[in-house]
């Protein structure tokens, strides 16, 4: 399959990755301070100064002005695309386009969110005259906990996916978190623990749901050519894809599959020109246990309906043959609200071999994939330390 975008494969690299000094409960830090810590740490990791940055990417209204001001950067290119938690993965695609077009050379992509402590957070309430208020919130729709569950219920009905299969994801992800000293929850759990945790919104129990934490993350993207002169091993961007299918979950085209992810995944694989079996490690945004299950189907790691059996038997846990969410994911590591950045940072660290006890041996190719809104958007990245 020929794809004009294949010329972009390996054109840019992630040369710096960092997080806020700590992640978890940080009541003494504002969202912007978390942006700043993450950006500081990512630039140091890249061996670059803020004066080297000529493009700033971040997700959210007004953030294209606010974040550069706070960081003391005067960019000549900004992008504040906000499509939910996968925004930062889409930013990588946008940065690639801009760098290849010659619009800028060094892109800083930042995230900071006081998701738990709510310090310095912008107001996020839907207007009373929004379609969301009139046609969803009026029914007690609580947002992600109810919206993501609507797909889980339909998937269970159509394919026979079980709550036990969903719980497998939570249990395996916790095993990874046990290997990560920064993870918020590290004690082992069992499938029964998941099934007997309190109900949030059936079919989700508490341990099917991601954490709510504070934290920040940032990455630095530049051309493959410039990357050669920088201290860390470049992590080349081999493939990218992004897609949006709806905003309100009631407008979702199909409730038993993830249409945006089908598109973003296919585009990332076609650009990268690699096969599924070439992927060594996957970082799949796990807002809820059902999300990686549908991602595995949408990305083509298994057929539609086979996501539940795919994750069974702790296949995605440490020692399993499909390492997934190796930092402990949104379920057990951290989830500020827009987890996608942490998935990218973990993929970079795995490919550089920096992950200590949780290192996937000989990881050469990583896939990052995220969701945004309520199954509304998706973005996919295929990353590698080598350009095949």
């Amino acid at each position: 399959m020929r794809d004009g975008r294949t010329r972009l494969r390996g054109s840019v690299a992630i040369v710096g990755a960092g997080e806020s000094d700590w992640v978890g409960r940080l009541p003494n830090k504002s969202a912007l301070a978390l942006h700043m810590e993450a950006a500081h740490n990512a630039l140091a990791d890249a061996g670059l100064r803020k004066e080297d940055v000529d493009a700033v990417f971040t997700a959210g209204r007004n953030m294209a002005n606010e974040v550069p001001e706070y960081l003391g950067i005067r960019p000549r290119y900004v992008d504040s695309t906000q499509m939910g938690g996968c925004s930062f993965m889409a930013h990588v695609e946008h940065a690639m386009a801009g760098i290849v077009a010659g619009l800028f050379e060094v892109a800083l992509i930042t995230h900071g969110e006081s998701g738990y402590s709510r310090v310095g957070m912008p107001a996020t309430r839907w207007g009373d005259d929004s379609n969301n208020a009139q046609f969803e919130l009026i029914y007690g729709h609580a947002g992600p906990t109810t919206g993501y569950g609507l797909v889980a219920t339909r998937h269970m009905h159509v394919y026979g996916t079980t709550k036990e299969q969903m719980a497998e994801v939570a249990v395996a992800t916790r095993k990874w978190a046990a290997l990560n000293p920064r993870a918020f929850l590290r004690d082992p759990i069992t499938i029964d623990d998941v099934l007997s945790s309190r109900l949030i919104s059936w079919p989700f129990n508490l341990l099917d749901c991601c954490l709510v934490t504070d934290g920040g993350g940032a990455i630095v993207v530049t051309s493959a050519e410039r990357a050669k002169d920088l201290p860390k091993k470049p992590v080349y961007v081999l493939g990218t894809g992004e897609a949006v299918s709806h905003q309100m979950v009631s407008q979702m085209p199909n409730f038993d599959r993830w249409d945006a992810a089908i598109v973003s995944g296919a585009r990332a694989f076609s650009m990268a020109g690699i096969k599924h079996e070439d992927i060594d490690v996957c970082e799949l945004y796990d807002a809820f246990t059902i999300v990686p299950i549908l991602a595995l189907e949408a990305l083509g790691f298994c057929k539609p309906g086979e996501g539940g059996p795919f994750v069974s038997g702790q296949r995605t846990a440490p020692g399993g043959d499909f390492p997934m969410n190796t930092n402990g994911g949104g379920l057990s590591y951290t989830h500020t609200g827009m987890y996608g950045m942490f998935a990218i940072v973990e993929a970079v660290r795995q490919l550089r071999g920096e992950c200590g006890p949780r290192q996937v041996p000989d990881a050469k190719v990583a896939l990052c994939h995220g969701t945004g809104g309520t199954w509304s958007s998706a973005a996919t990245l295929i990353l590698s330390t080598e350009i095949p």
């Binding site: 009373d128 005259d129 009139q134 919130l137 029914y139 007690g140 919104s201 059936w202 009631s250």
Partner: protein
Amino acid sequence: MRLFARVPPRGQQSPALILLESLPITLARMQTRGSENRTLTLRPTPETHPFWEAAKRRELQIQQCHDCGAHYFYPRPMCPYCLSRNVAWVTCSGRGRLHTFVINHRPPRHFPSDTPYIIGIVELEEGPRLMTNIVGVEPDPKALRCDMPVEVVFEDIDENFALPKFRPVP
């Protein structure tokens, strides 16, 4: 109290007039639970107010495109399938099927319902899907099944608003 002037035929309204007509109308305040002093306020836009006016009359109305024939929901001034302006309001049969659902135990702060309660996506006979509450049935996964037949019922929120909900067809 009559809240709307008679609406001129489609195509003769200026956007400003529609806005003027729709602005003063509409505050549906839902009493909050406990001591929290928050309210959910429903405020239609010019595009959505015919839907809420119909609901007050116990009619479930959606729009249909006269060019491509598609029914659609939520309200918009043009057909989202073909971008035609040649669209009209139609009254639904009120029958449909429960496409999927959740049983929510953790309501948002503004929401006055007792928990748990059922949030469903109903696929109308005419085709479009909408979010709603499923009532008249136990909030128990064993009592519910995807694709079960349901029909619309209207619940008054206040003197200005009736909310379409659905119940299983016996």
